[in-house]
Symmetry: C2
Subunit: 327 residues, 2 copies
Amino acid sequence: MPIHRVHRLLASATALAFAAGAATADIENYMDFFEPLPALPPIPADNSLTPEKIELGKMLFFEPRISASGVISCATCHNPALGWADRIPRATGHDGQVGERNTPTVLNSGFLEAQFWDGREPDLEGQALGPIEAEIEMNLTLEEAINRLNEFAIYQEHFAAAFPDDPDPINPQNVAHAIASFERTLNTPNSPLDRFLAGDVQAMSDQQVEGMKLFVDAGCVACHNGPALTDSNFHRFELPGSTDEGRFVVTGDEADMFAFRTPTLRNVAVTYPYFNNGSVPGLHEAVQLMGQQMLGQDFAEDELDALVAFMHALTGEMPRVEIPALP
Amino acid sequence: MPIHRVHRLLASATALAFAAGAATADIENYMDFFEPLPALPPIPADNSLTPEKIELGKMLFFEPRISASGVISCATCHNPALGWADRIPRATGHDGQVGERNTPTVLNSGFLEAQFWDGREPDLEGQALGPIEAEIEMNLTLEEAINRLNEFAIYQEHFAAAFPDDPDPINPQNVAHAIASFERTLNTPNSPLDRFLAGDVQAMSDQQVEGMKLFVDAGCVACHNGPALTDSNFHRFELPGSTDEGRFVVTGDEADMFAFRTPTLRNVAVTYPYFNNGSVPGLHEAVQLMGQQMLGQDFAEDELDALVAFMHALTGEMPRVEIPALP
């Protein structure tokens, strides 16, 4: 090879290396806006995460006898086969009744600082019992649920093992603590984003990286941040066709009218359909609507594609759960 | 020890050995009435049991989108957590409708030579599609079910892999073949009876052995025989309170009025409640009723206890199934 061509090649390589360095620095600035998913969410001081509670919580999660009909369990709407949600617009419960809201996924829900679409409970312990009693969901009094569990010797053993200091361990609080404990194990690590943040530059496609940058530049990250990509805060959002008053129902504060908790974006590609009433079936439309409503911005087609590609980079490894054999 | 005492001990030991020998021969006669559960049931020549079909069949078994509501799958009534049945008297299906019959377990159903309580289908391939179309179960036309499956690229891939010679593989027959293939893997080997038959004399308690002998002597084994402890044949049985005409509905033959297929007794202790309308909650009453109705015999209390103990020896190892992640 003639020497001048070698010189030119070297010059090009230097220029490329410089550009790559700049691009890396640039991307690292964007990466600072994101957090990898920790292996476990915060654990409350009064509910130690023991293997016995997790095992019991798993049994209770799959237990349909704590519904009036005997056929609805937590896993009915939070179906492990369907991203731990139900993939229908609004939840179907007792006697085929259809509720007002879309079932949120249980995945990574331990990272949320407000539970339910309206945040009426602060934590998983507070959330766990609501659907058992709700008339359009499982429709059973807690008293009757406890009576039914008490009939099974195996539950007596499991509650005693999970709550060894409690002389009468089959009670609503312990049901909630056990279910919450199981749910804290339902996390989805190692998504493409997580691997990218850990240094694996191959983990996301160029389009996904573009989407990540746009997600920051456009301002999506203002609400969708933290390990679960949600601020666990409430934002007014007028979904066409929805009359749900959202957070207002909880607080009575006009400022909360039509406000809903920011949903997690982790696994958003496998937890369709979208929004409080599940009326939007696809990610493309969901992202478009968010841009218009929350950011006052009409994304161009290639921007939407990049943002949707980035949403797919938020799908992590599903927990592998073997169905328990119930008594 | 004085020599005469040694003599007496030896004589006693000889007598004991002789008695034990006689007892063993006696028990072996009884054991001849039973068959250990094979690892696999018969496989039809036109539905080779491939890993691809089993995997696809598992997805379809857990797939609620092949129901009108989008919330009912095979696993709803054949719940893996509940002995692959539902533990309620009669199945609850579309819109909370309650059917006429108790859900039979899928466990070991490949060993049955007649499917459904009335035997209206001969095999699992014939059985699989019925509940999808039944208005009180999943309530979806097969055409619509196929359309829905076709929407998912992952199903297109899985059907193509399972049925590589079929140019248009997403069709009702292949749905049935895949589900049947998965179901043929849902067997429960190594029950106490199976281990006992294999020579492990400790596997059943003395009471269970007594129950086994009584099961033969009283004549239960006349219908409950073969690997699944059923003759897959139809027997008239007038259950108090039941108006179900049973096999007659299929054949129109008066001799079949109120006749039902002998249910498998494998896992009978974990597949309560009992009989065609699930009206009997416990094994004790179920065995008593069977004695009265089928054998014209009122079992004594200790006989009932022994027979019930033997029923518990028929619970095998549950299949360990990880819930599939559906598209």
